[in-house]
Amino acid sequence: MSDRANDSQSEVGNEWPLWEVFVRPKAGLEHKHSGSLHAADAAMAIQLARDVYTRRQEGSSVWVVRSADITASDPRDKAAYFDPMEDKVYRHPTFYELPDAVNHM
């Protein structure tokens, strides 16, 4: 989710902190990561997120999170974290063969 190679993105010198932006385009959908921006505080981050990331469509909800506050899994642990998911095929609908009459389920 977070693309921060350098997790301790603190207020170095006078730079505005970096925030990640998540937008829910309309009710019923989830928030999706749209990108990031620099803002001095949370109120500004929300407003700028609207100005920068929702110009072309209605956003019904915007989340902003300081990039430094995101905890991400380590890609080196990918094998431990995610490979076991791969062989639980019974979680996937395609695993089950049903008669044609009800196959649209």
């Binding site: 505005w16 921006l37 803002a39 109120a43 500004m44 407003q47």
Partner: protein, 265 residues
């Protein structure tokens, strides 16, 4: 191209005051595009300019219909002379760089003007939403949402800069001193206002004063900025007599249509 001369009526004058205020403010705000203090704010200011330009276009289109001689938004914007523009004088003052005539024109002036104007427009749009003119009411219904956002964004900046560093506070005080005398014009009541009020077209300007003053006082207090003293100065852009700045703004804005009469774009 030869200028057009409008046959003025009170309703036309009333609508043009709002249209021209939005148009000239949008024109000034657009000067920041590519030059903002930070890219994100550049985008925000341009959004504001686009909103105001949209409001201006809708109002000019309505004004053209009221005028009834087959004009349109572009002929009104590009072929009128200065004395038939009726914007608040406040919005023609420099915003991004000082002019030859006056100091001022920086980001402090910008956020302050955005705030003072958006607060005024919000109050105006709220009342116009029940205008006897259905088209005006429809425009107002949409515009009030934009004004609310502009006011919030600008107010946050006024507070940040007023209560930021000693330098930003000093610049805000200077901006306030420059802008304040021009705010009186926002609340003058003249015959155009009176006629509009009587016809249910929209509120007279003085009706907006108390609500405006209360909201402005609250934000200035949060910004640790003192309310300036009252001055007797009343600007006259709304009756077509402008400061020295509008001439330059219009010269730039209108140049292509004047150079290419009948041009197609």
């Amino acid at each position: 191209m030869t200028s057009i001369r409008l046959q003025m009526t009170a309703p036309l004058h009333y609508v043009l005051r709002i249209a021209d205020t939005c148009l000239i403010h949008a024109q000034r705000l657009a000067e920041w595009c590519g030059h903002g203090p930070v890219i994100e704010e550049d985008i925000a200011l341009t959004n504001m300019a686009l909103d105001l330009l949209g409001q201006a276009r809708a109002l000019l289109t309505r004004a053209a219909l009221i005028e009834g001689e087959g004009l349109d938004e572009d002929r009104l914007a590009f072929l009128r002379d200065e004395d038939q523009f009726f914007n608040l004088t406040l919005v023609e003052q420099p915003l991004r760089k000082p002019s030859a005539h006056a100091a001022g024109g920086d980001f402090a002036d910008t956020v302050l003007r955005n705030f003072l104007l958006a607060t005024w427009l919000k109050a105006l749009w709220q009342r116009l939403a029940t205008s006897s003119d259905a088209e005006l009411a429809a425009i107002a219904g949409k515009a009030v949402k934009e004004a609310r956002y502009h006011q919030q964004h600008a107010a946050d900046w006024v507070v940040r800069l007023g209560d930021g560093t000693p330098e930003s506070a000093q610049r805000m005080r200077a901006a306030l001193a420059r802008a304040w005398p021009y705010t009186n014009e926002m609340f003058v009541r003249d015959s155009v206002d009176a006629e509009a009020e009587a016809a249910g077209l929209g509120p007279a300007r003085d009706a907006l004063h108390d609500v405006w003053r209360a909201e402005v006082a609250e934000v200035l207090a949060a910004a640790t900025l003192a309310l300036p003293a009252e001055t007797p100065f009343i600007a006259t852009g709304t009756i077509g007599r402008h400061s020295e700045h509008l001439g330059f703004v219009l010269a730039e804005m209108q140049v292509l249509q004047r150079t290419h009469p009948g041009g197609r774009w």
